[in-house]
Symmetry: C2
């Protein structure tokens, strides 16, 4: 199986995949602090989230599978699964997001059907190799973040631009991304942003998601 590559990605099977890589919600059960994560995802979708990455920390495969299936049953946007390719395939998710500690993208590609999205985290120039066969990159952290304690040093917009410039596929900025960052990310070549706390730690997930979505609408108009 070969990489779909950036050009195919723009439209695969008639679906404009790149459009779904604008505002990705990454879930975190700890940030939700007991609130119903599915309900928060539905609210975020109403607010304009274009894809959701299912990620539960400290959960087992069966819990992640149940959560992913529940998401697939309740939201219309594409759902990807963090780390667990087997769970993504078993649930029938749209893709998987792989970090530096997860399976290498090239190996994952061999196990997945055409059109299955594989995202890779790229946090430094030394990690560009991790993203070589990925369908999109998650580049960050843009800012310092408390959600991902294992994330590297903040890149800032300049560092993000430097890494994004190496990509031949869509690039999402991740890590402490605020609504006011969207304009800059798009200006320096980013495709979109991935958000955890900026949406899930807010009391109103729908409103929080909309503040990001509005920035995309503004950037398109200008």
């Amino acid at each position: 199986m070969v990489s779909t590559g950036a050009s195919d990605l723009i439209s695969f099977m008639g679906i404009n995949v790149a459009a779904h890589l604008r505002l990705m919600l990454v879930t975190d059960d700890r940030v939700a602090r007991g609130r119903d994560l599915i309900a928060l995802c539905q609210a975020a979708e109403r607010g304009g989230v274009t894809s959701i990455q299912a990620r539960l920390k400290g959960s087992d495969a069966r819990e992640l599978l149940a959560f992913t299936r529940m998401l697939l049953a309740t939201v219309a946007v594409p759902v990807l699964v963090n780390d667990r390719l087997d769970v993504a395939l078993a649930a029938g998710a749209a893709g998987v997001h792989l970090g530096p500690d997860d399976l290498p993208v090239a190996l994952a590609r061999r196990l997945t059907p055409p059109g299955f999205l594989i995202g890779a985290s790229v946090g430094s120039s030394g990690e560009i190799g991790l993203g070589l066969e990925a369908d999109y990159w998650g580049v960050g952290p843009l800012h310092r973040t408390v959600t991902k304690s294992d994330a590297g040093t903040a890149l800032g917009l300049e560092g993000f631009q430097r890494l994004a410039g190496q990509a031949r596929v869509p690039v999402l900025a991740i890590g402490g991304v605020r609504p006011e960052d969207v304009e800059g990310v798009l200006r320096v070549g980013g495709t979109g942003v991935a958000v955890i706390s900026g949406i899930l730690a807010e009391p109103d997930s729908e409103g929080a998601a909309r503040r990001y979505a509005d920035q995309f609408a503004l950037a398109r108009r200008s």
Copy 2:
């Protein structure tokens, strides 16, 4: 894809699979306490282990993948992977072992090629459903064990026999199994045993494995 079932299992592609389900070593990095786990597995193979289940607690997919590949490169017996089906497939392992918190067997089956072994843990009559489409069952704990703190109440040989009697596939006893248990396990219908501490916590893994292997040889003769 359909379950291979017990009869196919006895000989699949000319390989006597059941023979490999006699003495399974289950790895545990904590039990190895800093000693080279690959070297311990090689020693256990010399002692008569017939299969190895790669299991590292608290490790990520990339570490488990590296460990599994290293095992595949250094031992000749079939290697299965605990929990992570994606890692098992990416590494080219012989199979996966799935517990109650892992992917359901039926879903895993759909993602795997013919002949790929899927084992299931069955610890009570309520968990028999977990094993329905599996190629073998791991039934236990036979005795109380400190290695698996999350294991249920000890079954004893009677409890093991009751569960093993429900299986249409080979059954391994697991959980605190000692060499002197082998004879009884085989007598009540078990196929073999799976061992962690009984081999890896011993100063001489080869000798420890041989004490189990010798019991199979004795049982065959009697």
